[in-house]
Amino acid sequence: MIKATNLSKRFDDIQAIAGVDLTIEDGQVFGLVGTNGAGKSTFLRMAAGILQPDRGTVTIDGRPVYENPAVKREIFYISDDTAFFSNTTPQEMATFYNRVYDSFNMERFNYLMNNFGLDRKRKIKTFSKGMKKQLSIILGISANTRYLYCDETFDGLDPVMRQAVKSLFIGDMASRKFTPVIASHNLRELEDICDTVGLLHKGGILLSKNLDDAKTDIHKLQCVFRDEESRKRIEEQLTVLTSESRGKLITMTIRGQEEDISDALRAENPIFMEILPLSLEEIFISETGVQGYDIKKIIC
């Protein structure tokens, strides 16, 4: 279990992470989402032991990560800007990681390289961006570590490759202790694969919960009330995050269980009502909108 406690990091005048408390349970795919500059990469770099927190700690099973090789042997970090040694080949990178990580599985590396159609002896500098991403993931999976940190790793992969990687993750999670932590802007992709999401905004954590729980806890409501008083009563009774009118049709984002919302609405006997589940992207927009990260403010 990865646990961040009161984690803070400042770069000169910029507070990248401020007092984040986050727990990532084992055996799940954890998605780290957030606005631009929210601190996702900073969090992952601290969780990987690259950056030293100004305050707070990141631990794995109670053991600090920073400057702790024993713990770091359980982590493989793939940065958003994939980095390899200069003028090297995939085979040489694998040999290097094989020496560094006791758990590295060379057979698996060779197998995956063949399956992904990547040449092991070709210079990495001649690879495309997507091929480099694939190589990073193959190296990460072959390292057989408990945790795999992927920072924007799925960006640049074509849909087929994305599916293949997802399958690999699922397969590994089923066969061994494996917990991928994925930071991404591509919420639709995360929605398919993640069990739990952590939402970062302006260096702080807005929510961290099981994706299904998150979805059941927030709903989109479309309805036509009989009068304005009904609408006001609903807004008073329920936790309305956003509300938008288009003629008589009112669209609301409401936090709460579906039954509670449904009961409250029925009591007002609306002309029309429909409760819809939210996508991860919509949850993201709603949650960050509450914090002032409103699309309308950006456009206007």
Binding site: I75, F76, S79, E92
Partner: protein, 749 residues
């Protein structure tokens, strides 16, 4: 995996990242050692075959220049490769992508540092050692290296390796402190050069403001002191063999420099290792990794540059202007601050940010200037307390100014001329060897020097004129300033040096100096003849008007000569010397037959009053006078260079004669320049009444022609035409810088 195994594995992996530097190190060492040795072997063979050298000489050359310390190409590699290897090895600290890659690995940062450090050293050390061993084996096979000196080669190799490691660790520290490759290169430059630059500025300031400062500015050391390269160079130079001495006879002298290098290397390594652990990963890409170092380095550079710019402004043009010095300080500090801030922020608009440090730099520089200008700490008048002084050495240019001795008998071994077995001047010899224990007697003279220096400082700057160059003072016609270099050897092992210019027409000065000169301690320290070992020289040679004469003596004969000469030199008082001019200068040499670098080691001035010496020389058919052979001169040609004060130009004229009476007259009134100056004249100093001047004279004899620069005296005795050309009236002075001479001064006194 065990830690040891992991370390070795990572070392192997690290070496794969360094392929091009490995190739560079191998190629450079191959050419610098193997190819160079092969080229030199060809030269050796050719020189041996043509009897232009000896095998011993070649062995020393091989030790000095090929297989040992002084291989210039190896030294060059030792200085340059550390920068390249440190930048390459620690590049991961300067690039954020690489930092993420390395720091995400389950390896401690110190271990990563250690692996890179060791790998960088091995990249140089392995090819260097392999090729060095091969080179020495090649030398052994050809007989250019011998087994009795074989242990010196690994010692040399260790010093070269230590030099490399020290420079490599310094460059590593520069990289660790910075976060950008360009700034890291500049950092290496700062660490390499800032110390020597600061030392040079300090020396120039001392020379500019203090008349009593022992001026090192023109010395070989000036560009290297304070620099790690200079330290390495010093150790290398001190291990260098001398052509006239045994191989590596300075080995013990090199120990302090070697120890310093070791300390610097270890300190740099330890500091870098600690800093790497504390260095934030996000420093990659920034100019400086640690914010605290930014103002420190900036202020240090700005102060040095400000004072340097002040000196440049001060010396621009003929006027030495104090306001220009201050203007230079402000300009220098401002420009350097702006440049460094621009580098720090990667933004030209930030050039004047952090102005507090700009003010600090300017204030520090101005304080330094004020300290020097007003001599706040009393440098000019300070002298060590007599109770702290073990002995005093005094070098003078009043007597025997042309004395020479091998560098090996002075401290000045790190000299460009050293390699050719050249000699040091008598002043340096005296300062190194003289041990005057009568401190009170010496203090009479040095106290006068200090008083004079203090007054000179005050006068010089009240007139806005600098002191640099120790220009002789001319207070009035009756003064005659001469230089005295004083070295106090303190009881704590340290030394203090000062230069004083004193008027030897002053009775108090002359009396004080006479008292010192007439002591045995002074003679033994001043004249190298008292310290010539048996077998050190085997020949005497001298120059007469008909050419060079050289005579080989047995060791016993040479010992006898040295004994007689020493005794007669001891018997020559200051007053005796003041009225004498030597007849000939003889040189003591080691004639090794085919020795390549033949040189004169000592000189002996032969006076009429040295009767026993003259007898010995005559008995051994060695000339006692420069005029030997004067009867063979058929004709002479005098070439005169005269300054036309009216037209402000030099005028050249000749006078020739084959008339025997005219030749005799001229020969009676000429004297070799060295002999004339031995009694305290510099070559540019002449008699006050224009009664002597230097001309070039060519003598034609039956044996050939001989030409030399000579002093021509007694104008009234010369043939009229020659007199006119040499001495055209009282106001037609010949080219010279000063009129005064010691003989005249002493006579006046």
């Amino acid at each position: 995996m065990t830690l040891k195994r992991l370390f070795v594995n990572l070392l192997k992996e690290n070496s794969k990242r360094r392929l091009w530097t490995i190739a560079m190190a191998i190629t450079a060492n191959f050419f610098a050692q193997i190819v160079y040795a092969i080229l030199m072997f060809g030269r050796y063979s050719e020189r041996l075959a043509t009897d232009r050298t000896t095998l011993d000489d070649i062995r020393i050359h091989f030790y000095n220049n090929v297989g040992g310390m002084g291989n210039v190409m190896v030294i060059g590699i030792t200085f340059i490769l550390p920068v390249i290897l440190a930048l390459q090895g620690y590049y991961y600290l300067l690039d954020s992508k690489q930092t993420d890659l390395y720091y995400s690995l389950p390896i401690k940062r110190e271990k990563l540092f250690d692996i890179n450090n060791l790998c960088g050293i091995l990249v140089f050390a392995i090819p260097y050692l392999v090729f060095n061993i091969i080179t020495v084996i090649m030398g052994l096979a050809r007989g250019y290296a011998t087994f009795d000196t074989i242990l010196l080669y690994p010692l040399n190799a260790l010093v070269i390796l230590l030099s490399f490691i020290m420079l490599y660790e310094i460059c590593t520290l520069a990289v660790v402190l910075t976060g950008h490759i360009v700034v890291a290169v500049l950092g290496c430059g700062v660490f390499y050069l800032l110390g020597s630059f600061a030392y040079s500025i300090f020396s120039f300031l001392m020379a500019t403001f203090f008349t009593s400062y022992w001026n090192e500015v023109s010395d070989y050391n000036i560009g290297y002191t304070g620099s790690p390269m200079g330290l390495a160079g010093e150790a290398i130079a001190r291990l260098h063999g001398d052509v006239n001495s045994e191989i590596a006879f300075y080995t013990f002298d090199a120990a302090p420099a070697i120890l310093k290098m070791l300390v610097i290397a270890i300190l740099s390594f330890v500091v870098s290792r600690i800093l790497v652990k504390r260095r934030p990963a996000e420093a990659a890409g920034k100019a400086m990794a640690f914010s605290i170092t930014r103002p420190v380095i900036k202020v240090a550079i700005a102060c040095v540059a400000g004072l340097g710019a002040g000196l440049v402004m001060y010396y621009i043009g003929d006027i030495h202007s104090v306001p220009m010095f201050i203007f230079g300080i402000i300009c220098g500090v401002l420009v350097v601050h702006a440049v460094i801030e621009t580098i720090y922020e990667f933004d030209f608009k930030a050039c004047l940010s952090h102005y507090a440090s700009l003010i600090v730099s300017a204030v520090i520089s101005l304080i330094v200037f004020v300290v020097f200008f007003f001599d706040i700490f009393g440098y000019e008048s300070w002298q060590p307390m007599p109770a702290r002084v073990a002995s005093v050495a005094i070098g003078d240019d009043v007597t025997y100014s042309g004395i020479m001795a091998p560098y090996s008998k002075t401290r000045d071994v790190v000299s460009a001329d050293f390699y050719y077995g050249a000699t040091a001047n008598g002043m340096e010899y005296a300062l190194y060897n003289m041990k005057l224990t009568d401190i009170d007697k010496a203090e009479k003279l040095t106290r006068l020097g200090a008083i004079n220096a203090k007054e000179f400082h005050k006068d010089a700057f009240s007139g806005g004129q600098g002191i640099y160059g120790h220009t002789y003072r001319e207070d009035d016609e009756n003064t005659c300033y001469r230089q005295f270099q004083v070295q106090w050897n303190l009881k704590n092992g340290k030394t203090v040096r000062r230069i004083y210019e004193l008027d030897i027409n002053n009775e108090e000065v002359l009396s004080a100096f006479k008292d010192i000169y007439n002591t045995d301690e002074f003679r033994k320290g001043k004249f190298p003849v008292y310290d010539i070992a048996r077998g050190e020289i085997n020949s005497l040679e001298g120059q007469t008007l008909t050419g060079e004469v050289r005579k080989k003596l047995t060791d016993d004969e040479m010992d006898e000569f040295l004994k007689i000469y020493s005794e007669e030199l001891s018997g020559q008082s200051f007053d005796d010397l003041a009225t004498q001019i030597p007849n000939i200068t003889l040189y003591g040499v080691m004639d090794a037959g085919k020795q390549a670098y033949y040189s004169q080691k000592y000189n002996f001035y032969i006076f009429d009053s040295f009767t026993r010496t003259n007898e010995f020389l005559k008995a051994h058919e060695i000339p006692t006078s420069w005029w030997n052979g004067d009867k063979d001169v058929n004709s002479i040609k005098v070439e005169i260079e005269r300054w036309d004060d009216v037209n402000k130009q030099e005028i050249y004229s000749n006078w020739e004669s084959s008339d025997s009476s005219e030749i005799d007259t001229v020969l009676k009134n000429i004297i070799p320049t060295d002999n004339y100056n031995v009694t305290g004249m510099n070559s540019d100093v002449y008699d006050e009444d224009d009664d002597a001047t230097t001309v070039q004279i060519t003598f034609n004899t039956s044996a050939g022609t001989y030409s030399d620069y000579l002093v021509i005296l007694n104008k009234d005795e010369l043939p009229d035409e020659l007199k006119k050309k040499c001495f055209v009236g009282d106001d037609a002075a010949l080219y010279r810088e000063s009129k005064r001479g010691w003989v005249k001064c002493v006579n006046n006194g």
